[in-house]
């Protein structure tokens, strides 16, 4: 992982990995144009964990889709490692809320799907897949089909599948949104552990403020539509974090600070 770490903060350097420059997205609908995103600007450092929170419909998923290359910005541009992005790329992995596993493939074949499209030998593909399946603790379910797995396990497979591609940027669109509270906290802890072991640049969308604070180094708060950034909060709680971190006063303070801003946006939206 990247070079110049002469800064006061270890494992973060000054050159942004991802630059989001003035991204705007307008949809045309029957009732006229809808501005989903209005001038989104953000620099993401290498291996940084970013969480984006905001009221529903604020355009956070739109921003993620544009980053993934699944949607085009109306104006503005995105640079990854200094190159403007065009369309989807295996460099930018996505974990979807609905898991999006291929039900006709086993866990292992799902994780191998993207790897097989790379110029790798059979053995390499298999080894990489095994490594990441083990990382999410599903080695005993390698040959199971998605229908045999619980929601939490399916999402672990999806995380392994995205991680296995070793993407420059990992995009997660409310990945734990469909899970029950208990599974959700468990997967948060696992994701934290995974990320601490093998750091990736993460852009994680959630509507759960607590989830954002426990995971992220920086939390981006978005306004109600038209979506723009209203605040960026540094979460200066050191890693490793775990569920006990949620008991710390610092955690409470940050969570309340973010939550009140998100709530204001929610009230704004209802007007």
């Amino acid at each position: 992982m990247a070079g110049n770490q002469d800064n006061m903060m270890p494992d973060q350097n000054n050159v942004p990995k991802v630059k989001i420059r003035n991204v705007t997205k307008t949809y045309s609908s029957k009732r006229g144009d809808v501005i989903a995103l209005n001038g989104f600007n953000l620099d993401i450092k290498e291996n940084e964990f970013i969480c984006v929170v905001g009221p529903s419909g604020c355009g956070k998923s739109t921003m993620l889709n544009i980053l993934a290359g699944l949607d085009n910005a109306t104006s503005g541009e995105i640079l990854v490692d200094g190159n403007v992005i065009h369309g989807p790329s295996p460099d930018r992995g996505v974990v979807f809320q609905q898991y999006a596993l291929f039900p006709w493939l086993t866990v292992k074949k799902n994780v191998e799907f993207g790897l097989r499209l790379k110029k790798l030998s059979r053995q390499e593909v298999s080894d990489i897949a095994d490594h990441y399946i083990e990382m999410v603790g599903l080695q005993d379910f390698k040959n199971s089909y998605p229908k045999e797995l619980s929601g939490g396990m399916k999402q672990r497979v999806a995380i392994a599948r995205a991680y296995a591609m070793q993407p420059k940027l990992l995009l997660m669109d409310e990945p734990f949104g469909a899970l029950d509270a208990q599974t959700r906290t468990q997967l948060q802890s696992e994701l934290l552990k995974t990320w601490e072991e093998e750091r990736r640049t993460c852009f994680f969308i959630t509507h759960d403020v607590e989830e954002a604070v426990i995971l992220a180094q920086r939390v981006i708060i978005m306004s109600a539509r038209p979506g723009r950034i209203i605040d960026i909060v540094d979460i200066d709680i050191p890693y490793p974090r775990n569920q006990e971190t949620k008991m710390e006063p610092k955690f409470f303070e940050l969570k309340n600070k973010i939550w009140s801003q998100v709530y204001n946006q929610y009230l704004e939206q209802r007007k």
Binding site: P88, S89, P90, P103
Partner: protein
């Protein structure tokens, strides 16, 4: 989400119910044929006698072979055409907009209505029958496979795309397997439609075939033969359906199914 083995709630094996079901049907048949309905509804023993007579004369398999050949020929040709056409319609929007309304239009016409048209064009031979069966089967299957292609979960396609898949890979590795359950349903409906159309085609005139056999027997008022013909068609339909069920179990067992 837990996976439960399908088992009946009570501790009675399913085969017992199958036997009860079959027994009840035969009892009902015996009852009906012992009333005044006997005139049209022959007794099981009479039907069985007619069956063995036809079997001994060797004509039974002549009829069955002729009918099976026509319906399977029509079905196979229809399937071979429906598969690529349905995928093309699903993949290219303009093709869909141009052709799909016509497919639905012709589909809404019962094949019997255009049988005479085909007979005038192709004569009363085998070709005309295969053509009629082909048309009926093809339309049913195109519509169903097309719906399968349309129903492919968009997030799955997105997932494949961000994993680096191009159009061809998405088609071969995502769209085709995801449509497989619909393809099998289409096969099932296509086979059913091929039998329906077959009998209609044979009733309008044929030298041999189950439909012709029924037609001829009814003219001589041999109701035992008529009933036997009907039952044979039912048995053939069930066997074909079972073949597709077998394929379904082999090929699409990965599907999430509702637990009953």
């Amino acid at each position: 989400m837990s996976i439960q083995k399908k088992s009946s709630k009570i501790g009675v094996p399913n085969v017992v119910y199958s036997i009860i079901s079959l027994g009840a049907a035969i009892l009902l048949w015996l009852f009906i044929s012992s009333t005044e309905a006997h005139v049209v509804f022959a007794k099981p023993s009479e039907v069985f006698a007619a069956l063995s007579k036809l079997f001994e004369s060797g004509k039974l398999f002549v009829h069955i072979n002729a009918s099976l050949y026509r319906s399977l020929m029509g079905f196979i040709l229809a399937f071979a055409c429906a598969l690529p056409v349905a995928f093309l319609l699903g993949w290219y929007k303009p093709l869909q907009l141009i052709f799909y309304p016509w497919i639905k239009f012709v589909k809404s016409i019962p094949p019997i209505a255009y049988i005479s048209l085909v007979i005038v064009a192709q004569g009363v031979g085998e070709n005309a029958k295969v053509t009629v069966i082909f048309i009926g089967c093809f339309l049913v299957m195109v519509i169903n496979i097309f719906q399968g292609v349309q129903n492919v979960d968009l997030t799955m396609i997105k997932a494949a795309r961000v994993l680096g898949a191009g159009d061809f890979t998405i088609f071969a590795k995502v769209v085709v397997p995801a449509s497989l359950p619909f393809i099998l349903v289409a096969m099932r409906l296509g086979l059913a439609s091929s039998l329906t159309t077959l009998i209609a085609a044979e009733l309008t005139g044929a030298q041999v075939g189950l439909g012709q056999m029924i037609q001829e027997a009814s003219m001589y008022f041999e109701m035992d033969v008529v009933l036997m013909g009907i039952i044979i068609i039912g048995v053939i339909g069930t066997i074909l359906d079972q073949v597709v069920s077998f394929l379904e179990r082999r090929l699409t067992s990965w599907q999430e199914t509702r637990t009953i």
